[in-house]
Symmetry: C2
Subunit: 307 residues, 2 copies
DNA sequence: TAAAATTAGTTGCTTTTGTCAACTACTTTG
DNA sequence: CAAAGTAGTTGACAAAAGCAACTAATTTTA
């Protein structure tokens, strides 16, 4: 018995009860949930055929036909025979159909309002974020590209969170200890000491207001720049986030007229190598090191920007 | 039109469709959702009356009566007239009733399994965490004490996250800039440099595997200890988390035979003052400072541990 | 390009699901 | 101990949903 699935089942039972959809009359109206769903589907798509509705809502066409007939009689919808296919007709809501739906929407909103009124605004945010996460994970069965937000102004909490990601991800992927996190903390402190908003930049990729990937460009002497802290939460790999971050970083270097960008890494951290190479970085130095009881290579990659 | 409620409505619609409970036959069995819910309710409570079932599931007693009659005929349940009330009878599942339910449970688990099979384990964790959050916020209408987990071993990512919390919370509550976060980074780096697992400790309170509060004790010369980084996410205040953290910290000091614990704060940070005082700390120093364009007091609080 | 197969939608008929009210047998209340 | 209330049953009925046969239009196929 898998605990994950049983936890999900438990949530499903909870939410079934919470949704309150097992009662016949939706929101005490004279319409059933099915009828409202039909109306909602019609309103969503501006103009729709009965066939399409049966597909979306999984309804019997005979059953739907009769409901639509009633809607027509009650002047909630109007049907216009399709010009492309004379068997089918395009269905739209009439004004009074829209009105009915809007009244029901208000009722529904009020009901939800009542259920969350005791939550403060940050709890409400947590609620909505969590719902989004549940939805995204269950629909696409993976996080979708469109939900990723990119930004590059540093706001309070960002640096700490990026340090956290370094500790957590390298801890999980390469078994690095908290010593590594301490090292990262040091690098960030040094960075902040000489941070120049003009010539340095950190890019962050966010999902549900949580940073899931980042990269930074730090100016160096001689019109050089260093690329640092390139990191992507494993859950969010394969969505083009890494590529986007690197592209933005390199574009920034071009814009700032840096002549060369370099990055330092070790042979222990191999996950990002392919991405560096695809962005045009080439290995320029490699030195064997023995540290933390391990033997590995400290490597330098460079990207010349000739323009 | 409130965006929060409309987002929740959108999630509700999504989840209604996702649950797939609008179809007549539950999991392709010959039973309807209502019937299965009845069986489930009987199995949950070992022995239950029909009356109780109508209350829980909001069913008509006549309707239920007939369904139970059929269950009896199909040998899924057994009824024993109650000794306390000869009108009522106690209903239990028979072996074959239990068997049916367990087959359906398996089917349901398989179905869920199919829906999440493409998720990796960390995505599954995110999913379950988010469901818990949704549920907690909607049921209790607030986070409950029992869901808070306490620990004090530092794992990779913890320090970064605590820095993040400092930046984010002080940014929000006192409008502190990223300079403050930089300062926090420095203090943590210094701490890690001389960290002694024997005499120093950081306590963390977690909700859904996320740190929401912390406090630390750092050893100092002359059998003194400093209390630092006491912080609680505003959303999680009023649940006794702060008190628990402070108590644990002070108990640790007693155990380690520190003679005095002190903490440094400023008059700008006033949210935790009451908690310090309740834990027995007393103001021992106060000095006016002008910094960051503000005038405020740097204060020291002490707690003597006489034992 | 004409016959065959398919599709959008309607209608008749049926089953399933759920509601309401009257009733029995028992229990509680005043 | 009579009146009121409750657990459960039953009859009558209405609403919700499914199935299959049908029409009229469209698409495929040979």
């Amino acid at each position: 018995m898998n605990t994950i699935t049983s936890k999900i089942r438990s949530f499903n039972r909870f939410y079934t009860a919470h949704l309150d959809i097992l009662s016949q009359h939706y929101l005490d109206s004279e319409y059933s949930l099915t009828e409202i769903r039909i109306l909602y589907e019609i309103s969503e798509s501006n103009s729709i055929t009965a066939q399409k509705i049966t597909e979306i809502l999984n309804l019997d066409k005979g059953y739907l036909s009769r409901i639509l007939k009633r809607f027509l009689k009650e002047n909630l919808i109007e049907k216009v025979t399709s010009t492309e296919d004379k068997r089918a007709s395009n269905i739209k809501l009439t004004n009074s159909g829209n009105e009915l739906l809007s009244i029901l929407n208000d009722k529904s909103e009020n009901k939800i309002e009542g259920k969350i009124e005791k939550l403060n605004s940050s709890e409400k945010e947590i609620l909505v974020d969590s719902m989004n996460t549940v939805r995204n994970l269950l629909t696409e069965n993976k996080i979708v590209r469109e939900d990723i937000v990119y930004r590059h102004e540093i706001t309070p909490g960002d640096i700490g969170y990026i340090i956290h990601l370094h500790g957590a991800i390298y801890g999980k992927e390469y078994n690095f200890s908290t010593d590594f996190e301490k090292y990262v903390i040091k690098t960030f402190y040094d960075f902040l000491e000489k941070y120049s908003p003009e010539n340095d930049r950190i890019w962050m990729a966010e999902y549900n207001n949580k940073i899931v990937g980042c990269v930074a460009i730090i100016h160096q002497p001689n019109q050089e720049a260093q690329l640092r802290w390139f990191l992507l939460d494993p859950t969010f790999r394969g969505l083009g986030i890494g590529k986007k971050l690197l592209t933005d970083a390199v574009d920034f270097c071009k814009e700032k007229k840096f002549k060369n960008v370099f990055l330092l890494t070790t042979s222990l951290q191999n996950k990002a190598l392919e991405m560096y190479k695809m962005a045009g970085f080439e290995l320029t130095q490699s030195e064997e090191v023995k540290e933390w009881g391990k033997t590995f290579y400290e490597e330098r990659y460079d990207l010349k920007l000739s323009n």
